[in-house]
Symmetry: C2
Subunit: 203 residues, 2 copies
DNA sequence: GCAACTCCATGACAAACGTCATGCTGCTTT
DNA sequence: AAAGCAGCATGACGTTTGTCATGGAGTTGC
């Protein structure tokens, strides 16, 4: 019997090690490489051609979502399972667009990880039904590229003036985009708008 | 030979399971209970009187910092190791004030966890030297209680008007506290101030 | 007792913010 | 070709935010 070969990518070393230990307790699964960012994972995958990649989303160098898209394009035999803290509709949508087979939350019981790996390996989808429903209700990202750029910077604490310089716009224009974003999100100011957009995975 | 008895507390079930699996690979360590929040951990400790508690900070019901203080007061034979994502000076300071023996970051290699448990069990301190230095440089929390209350709400996206109603203050007063906080933190507006304070563990 | 100090509280004023009306692309749809 | 639409861009106008000067209440040190 051949074990399912898995690469795990996760930027918190302690969690990476722990997840690997968890998967190693399964008799039919082998962790053949560990990566602490997207680039490392891609290198490992190119060499080892594993059956499954388990990856976090928020990582330095290359996010798990970008990584998933790369893997789909270059190594389609490797199935991707996203493993993340964030129940953000926007993340789920982008993950599925990027060809991920699974989207698993870190709040789920640890027993589900091995199951998800097995199911993904067989080509099946693994998506939390509640999250999928929420993603459906929330609808797609209503922000335009400009609005996203500007709202992100506003959420960092930058003033309209600073943002306008950075993007070579007039200050009024920046305020206008923010106003649009605030209105689209049903917020009452830039801070709330940024928080909302972040919580839905749109920033 | 008797194994070191450990309770692990962590709100993300997947990570909890993974950390337990990681510790179980050590021949001299046994995970005798798992808890997904501070209250559960306290119950487990009261029954099992373990040697070491490994706990996250940000958890529902009761944070790891509060938990550490309770454990110090009621079960002093149990040593506490804080295990967290956040390299926040304010958290470290509060953890040590709460009698924690160790403060370990989730970006550290997973091999360090077992070491930290062993050292804590022997009554030794385990604190990342770099983080300790940073905590020293950053100095203590400069915010007053009022400033913290108000800055926290401002960071949530609330307007000065809303905050003033909530706390029964005049709007000008709220703006003034924010101005003070902004100045103390060297920020240039409320958003940046809130971000800074959060990143240092003062909110 | 009374400085000196810290925290709490306020209003006046200038600066930044949010909204609105408006116009300019480019790209479908008819 | 014309109409419709989405995104981009701007300035004017009223509102919110940030700063500053000022004062009261409680504590500490002498």
């Amino acid at each position: 019997m051949k074990k399912i070969q898995v690469v795990v990518a996760e930027d918190q070393a302690m969690v990476l090690g722990a997840l690997a230990a968890l998967l190693e307790t399964e008799p039919d699964i082998a962790v053949c490489a560990r990566a602490s960012n997207g680039r490392e994972a891609l290198t490992a995958i190119s060499k080892l051609k594993p059956d499954v990649l388990v990856t976090d989303i928020e990582m330095p160098e290359m996010t798990g979502l970008t990584l998933a898209a790369e893997v789909r394009d270059r190594y389609p035999q490797t199935r991707v399972v996203i493993l993340t803290t964030f129940a953000r509709p926007g993340y789920l949508r982008r993950a599925l667009d990027a060809g991920a087979k699974g989207y698993l939350l870190k709040d789920r019981p640890s027993a589900e990880l091995a199951d998800a790996v097995r199911r993904a390996h067989r080509g099946l989808r693994v998506v939390d039904p509640q999250l999928a429903a929420e993603a459906w209700e929330t609808g797609p990202d209503p922000l335009t590229e400009r609005e996203r750029q500007i709202l992100w910077r506003a959420g960092e604490g930058k003033s309209s003036g600073e943002i306008s310089e950075e993007l070579h716009l007039s200050e009024g224009t920046v305020r206008n985009y923010l106003s649009e974003a605030i209105s689209k999100l049903g917020a009452s100011n830039r801070v709330e708008a940024a928080r909302l957009a972040r919580s839905r995975g749109w920033l």
